[in-house]
Each structure stands twice: as structure tokens, then as C-alpha cells.
Symmetry: C2
Subunit: 518 residues, 2 copies
Amino acid sequence: MTDTVERAARPTTSERYSGPPLAGGPGGPAELRRLIDIVLTSLVDGAAARGGPLPAGDPSELKREVLSSLGEVLPEEGAGPDVLGPLARMFAWGASDLADPAWSAHLLCPPLALSVAADVAATALNADLASWDQTPAGIVLEGEVIAALAELVGFDPATAAGVVTSGGTESNFMGLLLARDAVRPRHPGAADAPGPGGGRLKIFASRVAHVSVRRNAALLGLGTSAVVPVDVDENYRMDPRALHAAMERAAAAGDAPLLVVATAGTTDFGSIDPLREIVPIARAWGASVHVDAAYGGGVLFSDRLSGLLDYIEAVDSVSLDLHKFGWQPVGAGVFLARRAETFDPLAVRAAYLNPEDDEEAGYTSNLGRSLLTTRRGDVFKIAVTLRALGRSGLGALVDTCCERARYAADRVRAEPRLELVAEPTLSTVVFRYRPAQDDPVSSDRINAGLRRRLLRGGTAVIGRTDLTGEAGGIRLKFTTLNPTTTEADVRGLIASVIAAGVAEEEARCANATDNRSN
Amino acid sequence: MTDTVERAARPTTSERYSGPPLAGGPGGPAELRRLIDIVLTSLVDGAAARGGPLPAGDPSELKREVLSSLGEVLPEEGAGPDVLGPLARMFAWGASDLADPAWSAHLLCPPLALSVAADVAATALNADLASWDQTPAGIVLEGEVIAALAELVGFDPATAAGVVTSGGTESNFMGLLLARDAVRPRHPGAADAPGPGGGRLKIFASRVAHVSVRRNAALLGLGTSAVVPVDVDENYRMDPRALHAAMERAAAAGDAPLLVVATAGTTDFGSIDPLREIVPIARAWGASVHVDAAYGGGVLFSDRLSGLLDYIEAVDSVSLDLHKFGWQPVGAGVFLARRAETFDPLAVRAAYLNPEDDEEAGYTSNLGRSLLTTRRGDVFKIAVTLRALGRSGLGALVDTCCERARYAADRVRAEPRLELVAEPTLSTVVFRYRPAQDDPVSSDRINAGLRRRLLRGGTAVIGRTDLTGEAGGIRLKFTTLNPTTTEADVRGLIASVIAAGVAEEEARCANATDNRSN
């Protein structure tokens, strides 16, 4: 009898699964251990083959190399799991290595090993925050992480709310969206209804605010013309008098001031708009205030620097990005609203995700807080990092990076071949190489050229920006988000920049001479 | 001399980094190996402690357990890296295990070990698709993956374009957005400008289309009333005559038919709207066609089933989700447009990401194809999977899941206690438990109750939906996206459902008796 029962329960031969192993199930973790080991070895090999922060070569050469390693990406018959090692090696070789001290280009951090390891759990389990029954623990964790970050910002966690997002662009979208829908009839969300006073809705942001503000206004159907650029002071901070004047002008034209987007940490200078002055002005015109603290929000971890975000507790919503100061892999964005009811217009009911009777029974989720439906369990790596490092541990990393930026600024100032544009507020340093023939056109060519020369040589990855119409034209940028970078590394990076500048000048000179002699 | 140089190059003691290790740099992979090993062990331990697809208990009990494991999520002083093991174990215990054969609830797959392992490379490198200099290899890979998937859909990869997204909701947003902006002046993107004919823009989708269609219309400022629900046939497929009539009515009312959103694989029934009939109707009214193939797109991998998506090559844009049929961890969404110029309104120029002279020198990216700025390297895991399994390997997994769904439907039909609602088209099976007292109110209560009973017992995770106004009220759902599930597993799951239904009826009966005797 027992035999018969067992036979019935055991799958027949034809049923037995012989496909590629899953990450879950009884054999999953062992298979993962084997495959991840291959990936980690490939990361080492790929980095060694790269031999610097970027592989040397022109984009076309790099492309050729990647394509030849890849082969046909979707063949009729698969090439089998053995492709993993070579492809991971190629991907690591063809990477831009954020952990290399000569990488100093963007507001993106080299992530902590702890966070990357934690993320394996979320990925292997394919934790989806869309509904309770897809990750009960994840739903609870998100509530705790949001409450802790709301408290960090100075919101009352009992009445605030928030959600983990893919990053600052999505968080800023939510800030604009919820401001728009707060003045519109609930749910329909039609942008063609007039503003409360009958006029067009207007959003005020400093003219150095993130590119996503205008872009998001377009996505939301408000039009890019809804965004009014406000002038900045000499430190690239929104000028409160200019804000007042801009809002006054809009109101006089019959438009409805909807929202002020203040920036706490601009992309180039890390400058922080003066919230204590901005908030009362916004309120006086009936507008709410969203703070894009994607970059600068990290100073809240630091005792020494948190004063820079003075008065942030008074605003209506905030964007944070823990893949900047926070040392998380992408995505680790957070959107916070001071009042939970701000989210009401996003409420959604799906019979298969959050039926009312299930919610009453305690099976809740954050579905009505996110723009997405399926949403990866990024919250787990964030929770592990916050708990392991604590506020002071993260603050120490922020302090180190900001110190390193000040050191870099000092060294740039000391170099006659370089010109510092402004003292760093956070961890970015904007400067330029001063060519011998120092006119605007030559300066732009040499600076853009030397940066590409560094990329092509695989020597260094540094940032650039364009200040045309302000302090000049093309400028270079160091972004020090790597806490392991030493002062010696900074000196080495500066030496590379100068060497590339000199080489670029010589090459252009030789070119010009050649052209003349031809 | 040598000694002096070495000493100068070596960082001073005060500079030496003593913080938490990074995932990158010389020591990164070794540290990752150590920490990931802890995570993998915790996944095994957590799954053992869970002992089923979900931990047993009420949501409040589970929450208490998670909170007590977690402690304070953001303490002033960190608890140190040793929290990783216990937290990962808690997260795995409190998970909903997609790889468990008794998990059959949502359109989310248990991912392949290969893909999860590959993703570690993208996470450790923090590959960001926002600019060339953040992942040169990633930029090339995305181009190849998009071209291959465009070809799979039947688009000409030379003239098509696309982007990897977080999932179907974001992809569908793009479909609506680009249709809206195609009929609007370039860039401003103002939804309050009238449609081409001066009327309101209208979007037509079957009334069982995904919840994100209406929600996205609201986000875009078109208003939920812009979405016209179109009637379906008995197989829950959009009725072409109803579509024609709806478009005719809209045009007669002076509105502008903008877009038809066809669904290839509805959430409940997996039904596929008849594209060959829909496309000409849409074109006749001047509307474009977006196909939400987030679920059904996977049949393109299968020789046996790809005919179900007949004529998809003629539509304007398509959403795919490889975290459904595709066995990727979230996110693995794809948005494809038949003509690359569809993306023109999304074009963006940021001085720090894609300056013109850099692009001319070959340093390109997909920044102007995505709604996001920073975007994680999800493309790598996708590329590895496509290359390793090939079209036929993925097709075999799709076939297996669809076969298992047909088997489940047969077994449901054979059970007198159960009632099958419709034959499965893809891999979902909608049914209900037939209570002894079979009126609509009792049926709803018992079915919703038995599902929660299965969750509470940690026995099984099955889906539910609500067909009120159609075939009745609350219905249950199996979603067979786990190719390792055997026919014996299906029989076991059905037995669990019946047992839970019987227990639920008995409990309610006992309750009623108690109430009467009190």
C-alpha cells in the first residue's frame, strides 16, 4: 500500500524537470553558489583584463570586442550555461569601475559588498512588493524603512508615508504628480482641467535643477512650459527674491502656482536651495514644496553636515537616492510625503492584488503608493545596510567623501594649469584645464578632448558639464562618492588630468602644424 | 630612493580606509563570496523554517515576527555586518516562495539560477545605463538585446527601437506617452493642448485590460475618462465590432481616437485580443496600436504557441515582461517601438550625461529612450539567459507551463467540488470552489475565505479575481509559471484547495451554530 501511494506521489519520468535549474527550491541555493562563484571569478578576471577604471579603446573598438564575445544574443538553440563565465568576464572588462580611485564621474556610488550580497536574497526570492502574498516580510520591511527615513528627514513617521523607488527621476515624478493631483478632482487626473484659480499650473525650480523636473512636467501633461526657471545666487542656490518675483509674475498672469521644487544637492555644485526662506514664499502663494534631495539627502546621516538641510522637515515631499550617498546598488530611491493622504490620488484597487476584504484581514501592501505594479525587493538591501551601519556609520562615509572633495578642490586651486570654479558644498569639484591658448573655443575643445582622451586611454573617468552663459563653457568634474579614495589617489587623478590636457594641446598643435604644412 | 617613492605613494595611516568593504576594488569579489555564502545559507535555513510556500500565521503574527528579528532599522550606531545572516534568514522565512509547487498565485516567475547569478555582476559593478561612461558593455548589450527581441516580435531591427524597463506598467506608460506625444507639438508635451482634430484624446482598451492602462492615462494627464472600455467576447478577447462601434461613437462626439491598447495575455484568462482584426480598425480611425504582451509575449519563444500572437509585427509598440514567461528576476520589462522615431519626443540632452560632441565621438546611450535617468543593468541577466537558453530553450519552458495549466484545468473540471470558468489560453486557470450552500454571497465568502485559510496555514498561495457582473463573483486562480511543477504537484494543490474549502464551510457552519446557541 505504502508503495502504491509513494509511486503515485512521485512524478513520472516524463514529468521530471530537466530544464535549467531555478534559483529557488531545494537545489537552488547550491546551484546559485556554484554559478555566483563563476561570476565572482569572472569579475576578478575582467577587472584584471581591463586594468583600470575603463577598458582602453575607442567606443567602436569596445563595441566590436563586446559583440565578438557575445555572439548571437538570441540563437534558436541556446549556447548553454557555460556562457555565464565568459559573458560575465566581458561585462566586467567592459565596465566602468566605480570602485577604482580614478573613477570620479557621476553621482553614483560604488556599492557596499554587504548591500550587494543582501540583494542576492531579494533577487533569488524574486520578492515583489506589489502584494502581501508575494513578500510578507518585504511589505513589513518597507514600512519600517520608510518610517525610519521619514524620521531622519524630520517628518512625523506616524503621519508621513513613502515608498521605495527606482531613483530620483521616479521620485521627482511622484512629487510633481501628487502636487498636480492634489488640486485636481480625485482619480480622474486629467491635466486638461484648469488649475484651482482657472489658470495654468506652474512649477518653480532653480535653473540648475535636475533635468528630470522639466521632463517629468512633460510626461505629466503639464508641458515643459509649466516649469518656470528661477535664478540662482553666486553659489548656484535658488535666489528667494527671484522665486518671489517669479511667483508674483505667474499669479499676475492668471496662472496657478502649484509647486516649488527645491534642490538639495545640485548635480554640478551640490548646492542646496535655502529651504527656510523658500518654504514661506511658496506657502504665501499657495504652492507646496518638493525637495529633490537625491544627492544631498545623504548629509542627514552626518552630524557634521545635516545642518545643510535645515528646515527640510517643513516641506511636503522629498526625494532621496541611496545609490548616491548611501552606497547601495541601483535602484535605491525613496519618495517621502509629510502627510500620508498626499498619496490618495494614487489609490488603486485590483481584484487580483489588493481586494478590500483581504486588506481588511490585514493583507496589505504599498500598491497605492507606487507608480509601478511589480516592484523588486530593493528594500531588503537598504534595510540591511541601515541596520548594519547605522546613522553614524553612513555619516562617516559621507564625511569622508566630502573631506576628499575639499582636498581635491585645494589641490586643483594649487595647480596653475587648472582653474577651480567654486568651493565644493558636498562631494563634487567643478574645474577646468587652462590651455596655453586660453580663449573660450579652445578651452572647450581641450577640456572635452582631454576627458575623452582619459576615457580612450582607460586612464580615468571624470565628469563634465557645461556652464555656457555663466562661468564659461565646458567644465570638468570630480565626484567623490568613493570613501576608499585616498589623498594620494586624488593627487594621482589630478596628475592624470593635467597630463591628458598637455597631451591634448600637443596633439591639436601637431595637427594644426600638419594642416599648415600640407 | 625607491623606498621614498613607495612611501609617498602609499596612503598614510590616517587615510587608510577602515569602513565597510565595497563590492568592487581588489578585495571586493572575495568579500562578496564570503557574504553571499552567508546569504545562501540563510536562504536554505529560512526556507526550512518556513516549511512551505509561505510562513504560517496571521499577517499580524508575521509582522510581529519580522519586527522582532529586525530591531531598530536605523539605529544611531550600526549593529555591524553580522546582521546579514539573521536578516536574510528572516527575509527568506517571511517570503512567498515562487519556486514552491504550492505557489501558484501571480504572473511572476521563479527565476533561473543562471539569471540571478548573472545579476550579481550587474549589481556588484553598479552598472548604470544612463551614460556610456557608466557601462560601455551594458550600452552595447542593450542594443543587441533590443534588436533580438524586436526581431522576435517581427519588427525590422534596423528601424525598430526599444529599451529595458522595470516592467509592464512602465512599458505600457511609454506606449501611451509616445502615442500622446506623436500627435502633440514636439517636446512641450502639454496634455492641455487639444487633439489633432481639436477633440479629447481617447484610448481604447478591452474592459479586462491591465489596471495600469487607466492609471497611466491619469498619470499622463489624459484623465481616466480618456480610456474607453471595449467589450469582450466569451473568451475575454476584445470584440472587434465593439471596438469599431466605440471608435465611431468617439469620433462622432468630436473626440480624437488616439490609441488602441490590445492585450496579449490578460491577467486572469491569458486571453489574446485578435490583432489581425483590431489593427485595421484602429488604422481606419487614425489611431495607433500598442500591445500589452507583458504576459503573452513569452509565447513568441514557442514554435507551438507563437501563432497566438499572429500579426503583432504590424502594431506600433509592444510591452514584454521577461519576469513572467522569461524566468528573470524583476525587473525585466521591455518596451519596443516598430519605428525608432517614435522615441523622438523623449529625446533629452544633459550636459553631464550625453553632450553632443561626445555622442558624435561615439559615446552614446539610451538616455533618450527611457523614462528614468539612472537605470540598473538588468540587461545583463537578460542577455545571459537569452544566449544560454536560446529561443527553443525558453519556448520549452513556456510549453511546459501551458501544458501544466491544461492539466490543472482538466483536473478542476473533473472535481465536483470545483467549477472551471474557462479553458486556459496560456498558463492561468480560473475556477471556484462550489460550496454546499451555493448562492453568490456564500460562494464569495467561502472562496475568499478558503484562499486566506491557505495563506494563513502556509499551505498554498493561489490567486483570486473578481468576475462580478460576468460569470459571477470572486474566483480563484492558478498561475503555472513554474516549469518544475509536476502533475502530482498540481493534484496536491487541488487537494489542498478542496480541503481548505471544506474546512472553511465547516468553520462558518460551526460559527453560525455558535451564534444561534448564544
